[in-house]
Symmetry: none
């Protein structure tokens, strides 16, 4: 396998013709399908190409390495996740802090559980990929959105909003992932999510000054 350079992770060329765009989309979709049906270690370039209904050669026109595929997939996923969180943050602007964390938790949990196999596939796809840059970018977008939200809370004010935010985000994202991966029964998972809301609220009350 060729060494993975940063540059090699971005698509080799942008599709210029309509045909090409369709091809790229088919490849994305096929990647997810293969990840789901065959698992990450059966995610091979030939399999993806076959499932996408294109030749390997075509795939390599757009993704110069296998890694580029997975990278692009994660990029897309984190992109859409960030957008959902930003949307929630905007919607909760000016609400009470309690409602904010509740909305955040729900958004994230839904994002992870609405297509659970996709989530699982993505978690597992990552093993070989250095996606710390992606994560970093994602974290910054999220932090910026949630801090803005928290600062607008109608009922609370925080001395060290950065730390409170970092704590909340770390706890919520970590807990959701863990609940997801522990494969809790549905009612158990729902219970944990409710308790998580409770917990975050108790925390917010403890660290906020009333406005």
């Amino acid at each position: 396998m060729a060494p993975v350079t940063q540059q090699a992770l971005s698509p080799r060329k942008r599709p210029r013709q309509a045909r090409a765009t369709a091809t790229v989309d088919a490849i994305y979709e096929a990647t997810i399908q293969v990840l789901l049906s065959d698992g990450p270690h059966r995610l091979t370039t030939t399999r993806v190409a076959e499932r996408a209904g294109v030749s390997v050669g075509t795939m390599y026109q757009y993704f110069p390495q296998k890694q580029a595929l997975i990278h692009a997939l994660n990029e897309r996923y984190l992109e859409s996740l960030a957008e959902r969180i930003e949307t929630t943050s905007r919607q909760q602007h000016g609400a009470s802090a309690g409602l904010m964390v509740q909305a955040l938790i729900e958004t994230y949990w839904h994002a992870k559980t609405e297509r659970p196999e996709v989530t699982r596939a993505l978690y597992r796809s990552v093993a070989d990929l250095d996606n710390s840059a992606l994560i970093e970018r994602f974290a910054q977008r999220v932090d910026s959105a949630t801090i803005t939200m928290l600062e607008s809370a109608s009922d609370s004010r925080f001395q060290n909003v950065a730390m409170v935010n970092r704590t909340l985000v770390t706890v919520i994202f970590g807990t959701v992932r863990n609940a997801f991966e522990r494969q809790l029964a549905n009612h158990e998972a729902d219970g944990v999510m409710q308790q998580l809301v409770l917990m975050c609220r108790a925390y917010l009350k403890a660290v906020s000054e009333t406005r």
Copy 2:
């Protein structure tokens, strides 16, 4: 690759002699080394054997499949982690609930961060392994220990101790993993851990009846 059967995942034979034990240990150590230095996709049987100073043939005496290696590695790790948590749980028996969660968080965080590369290597080794059975067993040991601990709290009593425990464990383990993986700066990570203690205590206060 031969299909992975459950039976095939356990070492082919238990080491009976001192020499054999040393060999197996060398193999474990070598696996971690290779994982760290070469990454999971360069974790090959030849490389591990070479690093361990044995021949591939010998390695296959102890681990009938490559998967068995990784499986055994994770088993060992979770085993020792469970033991540490059980120890902590015993030590905190009868303490206040607040001290309990603090001890739990510290134990888990230390376990993850004292050899961070090993932790990272193990996280990454898992991609292709179905380790849900391992996780399940680990979770049960932990739950049983922490529930016993929580029930002995000197200052609190919980209506639904199972749920409270599940919540705490999910939150703590999830948060720790997330803090670890986000690669927070040291002081940030420490801050989050302190806040996590705070948060868990606030939660416990909210859901407990004074004894």
Copy 3:
């Protein structure tokens, strides 16, 4: 294709068992066969392995890259060529300068023409290989042998033996190669070789002082 590092050009491991030695020899022989029968651009790793009667995997145990094969082949060839020239140089020690160049020309010409297809195959195999290091080493061995020889000439003495030697070697080797590659008819090539002897002798007479 992986980038060609210098290290990668030497055999990956030395054969330790008799079986392994036989394998390596078979591979060398097969490489020449394929080069001859299929031409350099049909020299593929699979073809060589097949012809050698081993699996590709085995071949890669000994030659980590396709280039390593060709490199080894050239190394072997230049090695034996250098030996022949050294032998000739020793044999002509103390002879007349005229006999020396005659012997040198004959040796080189025979070496090139006794298995002409092999010679041609090797010339063509080189296109992608940076064999300047090999050539350099070869040139030094040859220079050292021929200078020693020339200095011992019974009938001549040279002011600047290094230059005379460099000239002779460059002219002889170049002319032989060119005669070979121009595909002259046999009698034409023989004629040129005889004239070359004549020419070198005339040159030697012109630049030497009688002893």
Copy 4:
């Protein structure tokens, strides 16, 4: 790859318009560039087209096969080389034989060294090409020109002018190539060229009858 037929080696169509000529020139130039910067095994049709600023499709209008490109390149090169030699031969018509060989050596050496990378690139481009026909044609043009020249020598007359000429040409061209490929230091190469002149003159004197 389609089998290479002789007919397929000539450009598919002659450029009739100025635009077409420019395109073909750009392709030639690009071929050399790619050969120089990427080496012969990275000489791909796509790369050449890209460097030439045309599409692959367009390139295939002019060169129906990749081989045709290299063939045409060599043809062009040998063509211009032959012309230079013819020019020199005409200029030296009637001069002394000594001046003739001197001029011939200088012409050839300059032709090879004025753009050394191009020379090297061309040498390496040839591996897979059967260019014996080209060489043959080139040799005949050269022979015819140099024989005519030699026959006009003011100071010498040769019994077997064909053989003398063949010898001179083979020696000079072979030596120049070898000096070039051995990568001699500049002063060494210049020295060899001067000695070569000396040598050829000594030879001519030995084989000629004074006129």
